[in-house]
Subunit: 203 residues, 2 copies
């Protein structure tokens, strides 16, 4: 569960609003045995979460397309985690600041030491939410197609097209002074982004 969560940057967060499901993509991080989410205090979703809503946080990494000899056995290689729980607002300036830092640090390891940290006004505009990782399940599919024995002799190409998220060269902001170099930790970010192609477990 933790390995999948740590390899992803985006979660799909589901809540029930007026009896109907709502699923919104959010940046997240794992911080010990909890997930951390954040957003604007003005957001309806964040207000729902802060009110202690039941929440389902799902994280998925796609590792490849699985091409079988029959339409029916086509599949996708992936790693996925579903965390179900009750959202809770993170309280206290120090705890909230630390949660926000964890989010930035997960997005780009090494970044928090470099940037201006959040002001009190900025913190007051941010709702920080935690979800305990207590009810969680992971699902992983790896490997090639599983065709029916009768189909193996068909003259149809079968196998896997690997997919991975890769980072391109950093593009500097047009307002950035030319004497500020690209930081070394962006190298690490490129490596992390490319790590999606090598899952380790069999379905």
């Amino acid at each position: 569960v933790n390995a999948v969560l740590d390899a992803a940057r985006l979660a799909h967060v589901g809540v029930v609003v007026d009896g109907r499901p709502l699923v919104i993509p959010m940046v997240f991080c794992r911080d010990g045995d909890r997930l951390v989410l954040h957003g604007s205090v003005a957001s309806r979703l964040l207000r729902t979460l802060a009110g202690g809503a039941d929440v389902c946080v799902t994280v998925t990494l796609v590792d490849g397309l699985v091409l079988a000899r029959s339409a029916f056995h086509h599949s996708v290689n992936y790693r996925s985690v579903v965390v179900m729980g009750v959202a809770q607002r993170i309280e206290g300036e120090q705890a909230r600041r630390s949660a926000l830092d964890a989010l930035v640090e997960h997005l780009v390891p090494g970044r928090t030491a470099d940037v201006r940290s959040a002001s009190r006004v900025e913190l007051s505009q941010t709702t920080l939410i935690e979800v305990p990782i207590s009810e969680a399940s992971a699902k992983v599919r790896t490997g090639g197609p599983i065709d029916d024995a009768d189909d193996l002799a068909l003259p149809v190409w079968a196998g896997v097209v690997p997919l991975a998220e890769v980072a391109g060269p950093p593009v500097a902001d047009h307002l950035l002074s030319a004497d500020v170099p690209v930081p070394s930790y962006l190298e690490a970010a490129s490596h992390q982004a490319g790590a999606g192609g090598a899952p380790a477990t069999e379905n």
Copy 2:
């Protein structure tokens, strides 16, 4: 909305089960003015959907990490679509076969003409679901960081790390006969997978 849906292969599908949200990743495709989902007739989620459940289908493509000079203004470039509606079981052998073909064709354009199509038994093991694209919203963030004026002079690198999903060289199944070549449409799949890096709209 359609451009984002067509560029993605995976959706996060949210339903309400026993009053709680459940979000599951699923392969999907857009087929005209509906989304098509599928799964095993044995799946609890598929039975919930087939029963006419309220559903939220969310599709997200991540295009880059946005690094600002302050922790607070960090962000992600992305394209996302949220479709809300009522799921409906697709009935009739011809309609179900055509929906399954649309799914395979969306996963790998050109593939359906090549493979053994689904048998009646296989079709009977598959639940096919449609969701009308009537209540849908798209959200897109592109471009560089938006920093506070006071932060612009800080000696902190700022800009965007582009992210894109790319396809690696196809890996043949170990049972594949050596005289079956890699099909030409897998070239097209590689191009499609790499297209995520160039969003066109400003947030």
